[in-house]
Structures are given as structure tokens and as C-alpha cells.
């Protein structure tokens, strides 16, 4: 049994060999009295699986999308704006900034920020 290679070749091992291999790996944890922690962790993981249902996963997944999409959009915008700004030889002139403000996309962005503040205010 000592001849079991430890490189993953035990995938096709018989159940006896597999159990022996697992026991060997767990022995140090057992010796130091720490196996209980792992069993507790397993039982928490198992509780979580029991508690999760489709509706909760749907809520978590939606939350995931909402947070990642906002951070993705903000990150992309800052990265693009930063590289455009860095590419300028001189900082924007006052007139240049006003020209930027006149662009429909800029006005849409400013509108979004003002509306966001408005909604935040409404909730105060």
C-alpha cells in the first residue's frame, strides 16, 4: 500500500486504497485534535446547502450582477477617461472643458449623477 503514488494516480484506486489514502492524510489533523474543526466546517457547509433554495440563489445571483455591472461600468469609464486625459499634452483649457460639457454624452452623464443624488436625497 505504501506504493500508492501521490501524484493523483489514485483516481482509479479501489475503495480500500482510497480510504487508506484519505485516513493517512487526515492522521496529522486527528493527532493534533483539529479534525473536529473540519467536521464542524463540513457541517456548516452542509447546512448552507440545505438552506439555499432556488429563490435565494436567484436573489444572490441578481445582487452579484447588479454590483459587478456597476463596478465594471465605473471601472471602465475611469480607465478610458484616464487614458484620454493622459494622452493630452496640456490640461484641458476652460473653453475645452465647456466644449466637453456641451457634448450630449457628457450631459447625459451629469444628468445621471444629479439624478442619483436626487434619489439618494429622497431616501434621507
Amino acid at each position: 500500500m505504501d506504493a500508492i503514488p501521490s501524484d493523483g494516480a489514485q483516481a482509479g484506486a479501489t475503495p480500500d486504497l482510497a480510504i487508506h489514502e484519505i485516513v493517512q492524510k487526515l492522521q496529522p489533523l486527528l493527532d493534533s485534535g483539529r479534525l473536529d474543526n473540519l467536521i464542524d466546517l463540513l457541517s456548516i457547509a452542509s447546512d448552507i446547502v440545505d438552506l439555499l433554495d432556488c429563490a435565494m440563489v436567484e436573489k444572490l445571483a441578481t445582487l452579484f450582477e447588479q454590483t459587478t455591472s456597476v463596478s465594471w461600468e465605473l471601472g471602465n469609464a475611469v480607465r478610458m477617461a484616464k487614458s484620454q486625459t493622459q494622452a493630452l499634452e496640456h490640461p484641458d483649457s476652460l473653453y475645452g472643458l465647456l466644449t466637453l460639457l456641451r457634448e450630449p454624452d457628457t450631459r447625459r452623464g451629469v444628468g445621471l449623477i444629479l439624478r442619483t443624488l436626487n434619489v439618494i436625497g429622497r431616501q434621507l
Binding site: 452579484f64 450582477e65 459587478t68
Partner: protein
């Protein structure tokens, strides 16, 4: 390799999963060139919306609303991408130009074709009239209405493969997934004991013959899985024609089977503009583009790549394939631009979590040289699949995962 100061134009056609992922990953890969305006990435799609197509399968069982399965394509694309809603009506490959429905012409230096495929039930006599399917939203809604009201009878399931040898139908595991979902759905409705389910498979399924699935290991576990649930199954039924009045499905092997609902995986084909380009060598005017199985370039064309459902490769026409093809194309185009060679290689990898009934899932992967090794379906994988359907997918499309 490109010298001089002209902008290199990369044009992507199709804003589905393949096109969206490639566009986002090209921007990430070629960011220094994009910032210096040396490279421009554009995406043309005939739809302003992006659909999570696998959700159509759930629509058939009243598990998804239309509003939940789509997002605006613009919201999935990085801001550096020039996105236009327009339909490509002609590829002029020698002139490196695209013609569009709005009358515009777009020149390109690199082109990625990502126009997917479409169901073509009209290719089998009577199927369009009498059959149902879940590969598009409206047909899936119609099927949902039928499945939600059937009280007794016979649901007959058929799978049609493309005529082109060794090319699969869309999403290989979908017929098995929906058969198992159907069983659960009818049990929930309390009518399962009065409705017979018959799963059939054609004689030729890519390289396999007389089987229940296109890969041997999975095919071998299916009889056990079906017997447990009282699902009948039949090999060697290649749907040939349907009699809508008598409600009988005829096979090319000479069999005739009655049905109350015919839940079919219909024939598929590439979109019109790809077929009309004349580049395809596929049988039956199916239009699959001749694809280099490693670099994903289109044979016989310069600087043209293809991704997703339009390829003629033996791997599943699935999002899980696009996911592994997109980085290869992004690396190959970046490699061609930067040092004149396309060195990244696609190994045929596809991964997914199959929906095995309404609650259970089965993670799977395979590539050109390995088949899927089926594992016991379980609840956790079912929840993972649900999480993917409801949220993770959009992060994948954005190129975040």
C-alpha cells in the same frame, strides 16, 4: 504585421455571446494600441438586445420571464467598442468590406463572424406546423402553454442533427436536459402518470451510431436514468416528416409514431448572409464556415475568424465553447497585429453545468480528445446552474469571468 500609421480596424459581426466576449477581450488585450488610436474595435449586430439563449429552455417550463433573459447589448460592451445596430447583408471578402441593411459599407483589417445559427423546422415536412421547440423565445412560450395544460397523452421527443457530417446540433445536452425537466414538470403538475414521455435519438449522431447520446459514456448512463423516471426511449429514429393532421411522426428508418406534443430539436442552419457568402462547404446548404480547428480562422480567407455556432467543428454549439474560443481569437488577432503570427490554439474545450431535471445539475467538460465523464447529478450543481442563469452569465459575457 501592420506598419504605418493607419488605424487597424477589427470588425465583429453578431452581438450574441461569442461576439460580445471576443469584442470585450480584444479591447482588454489590445488596450495600449486602442488608447493610442492604432486599433479600433467595432461590433455590428442586428439586435440592440442580447438574449441569454439557454433561458429559452426554462421558458418552456414557465421558469423565466422574457424581461429576465435579456440585457441591452451596449451595457455588456466596454465603452471603447464602437457598437452599431445594423444588419450585415453582404460579405465582400476580397474587398475586405461589409455591406449593411442601412446602406453603409465598413472596411475591415480583421473580421470575426459571430452570427450564430437559427432553427430551421421548415426543413422537415410538417415539423413547423405540428412540432414544438424551445430554441427561440416565441416557440418556447407556445410549448410552455402546451406543457402547462396537457392532462393526458404522449409527448414525443426527437433530435435532428445537421446533414453535414460530424457537426452537432445546438447545445448537445439540451434534449436530455429538457426531457428530465419535462418529467419533473409533469410530476409537479400531478399528471405524470397520465402522460407518456418518449425520448428518441437518430441513427447517426456525429460519429456515433444507434445510440441515445452523441458521446458514449453519457449515452451509457441514460437508460438507467430514464428507466428510474419511467421515461421511454428509442434509438434509431431520424425524423423525416410529420403529418400535422394525423399527428404522426415518421422516421427515415420507416417507423411511424403518434404524438400529442412533438418536442423537437429541429434542424439548424447558419444565418442567410453567411450562407450567401458562398464560403461554406457544408452539406444541405447549412452554411457552417470551414474553420481551422486550432486557430479558428476561416479556411480560404485572409484575416477572418469565426466563433460559436457558425463553425463547422465537431464540438457543441454552446456558450461553453464560445467561452474557450474567445480568448484564442483575441490572442490570435493580437498576435497577428503585434508580431505577424496567430499562435494561440483552441483545444476543443467546452464546459457547462447541465440541468438534470428542475432541481439537479451536473458539471461537465470535454475537448477534442476527451468525452464528458458523467457524474451523479446533485442539488449543489443545480443551484450553481441557477446562479449562472440568473447572474454569472452576464459577467461571463462582459469578459469578467
Amino acid at each position: 504585421m501592420h506598419g504605418g500609421s493607419a488605424v487597424i480596424r477589427i470588425m465583429i459581426v453578431g452581438g450574441g455571446l461569442g461576439g460580445t466576449m471576443v469584442a470585450n477581450q480584444l479591447v482588454a488585450k489590445l488596450y495600449p494600441e486602442i488608447v493610442r488610436a492604432k486599433v479600433k474595435v467595432s461590433l455590428l449586430s442586428n439586435s440592440a438586445e442580447h438574449f441569454y439563449k439557454p433561458a429559452f429552455m426554462y421558458v418552456a417550463f414557465n421558469q423565466f420571464f422574457e424581461e429576465e433573459l435579456k440585457r441591452s447589448e451596449r451595457s455588456l460592451l466596454r465603452p471603447e467598442i464602437d457598437f452599431q445596430v445594423d444588419e450585415v447583408t453582404r460579405f465582400d471578402f476580397p474587398g475586405q468590406t461589409l455591406h449593411t441593411r442601412s446602406g453603409q459599407r465598413h472596411g475591415y483589417d480583421y473580421l470575426v463572424i459571430a452570427t450564430g445559427c437559427v432553427p430551421a423546422p421548415e426543413r422537415i415536412e410538417g415539423l413547423k406546423e405540428a412540432g414544438d421547440h424551445f430554441y427561440q423565445y416565441e416557440p418556447a412560450r407556445q410549448l410552455a402553454q402546451r406543457l402547462g395544460t396537457i392532462k393526458r397523452g404522449r409527448i414525443f421527443i426527437t433530435v435532428s442533427f445537421p446533414q453535414t457530417p460530424n457537426v452537432p446540433h445546438q447545445c448537445g445536452i439540451a434534449p436530455v436536459e429538457t426531457t428530465l425537466m419535462l418529467d419533473d414538470f409533469l410530476r409537479r403538475r400531478g399528471v405524470r402518470d397520465k402522460v407518456e414521455i418518449v425520448y428518441t435519438y437518430p441513427t447517426t449522431a456525429q460519429l456515433m451510431r444507434n445510440c441515445l447520446f452523441l458521446q458514449r459514456p453519457t449515452g451509457e448512463i441514460l437508460p438507467g436514468l430514464f428507466e428510474q423516471r419511467g421515461i421511454h426511449f428509442q434509438r434509431g429514429f431520424t425524423l423525416d416528416k410529420v403529418d400535422p393532421d394525423q399527428r404522426i411522426a415518421y422516421s427515415a428508418e420507416g417507423d411511424a409514431q403518434p404524438f400529442d406534443i412533438l418536442m423537437a430539436t429541429p434542424p439548424i442552419r447558419a444565418v442567410d448572409v453567411v450562407i450567401a457568402s458562398g464560403v461554406s462547404q457544408a452539406q444541405g446548404n447549412e452554411g457552417w464556415l470551414p474553420t481551422h480547428h486550432e486557430t479558428l480562422q476561416v479556411y480560404g480567407l485572409e484575416n477572418v475568424y469565426v466563433i460559436g455556432d457558425t463553425v463547422d467543428l465537431p464540438v457543441s454549439k454552446a456558450g461553453g465553447a464560445c467561452h474557450n474560443q474567445a480568448p484564442v481569437i483575441a490572442n490570435n488577432i493580437a498576435g497577428e497585429i503585434r508580431h505577424g503570427s496567430a499562435d494561440a490554439i483552441y483545444d476543443g474545450r467546452v464546459q457547462a453545468v447541465a440541468q438534470m431535471g428542475l432541481n439537479a445539475g451536473m458539471p461537465l467538460w470535454y475537448d477534442y480528445t476527451h468525452d464528458v465523464l458523467p457524474t451523479p447529478p446533485n442539488k449543489l450543481a443545480g443551484l450553481l446552474r441557477n446562479g449562472f442563469n440568473r447572474g454569472l452569465y452576464w459577467a461571463v459575457a462582459r469578459g469578467m469571468l
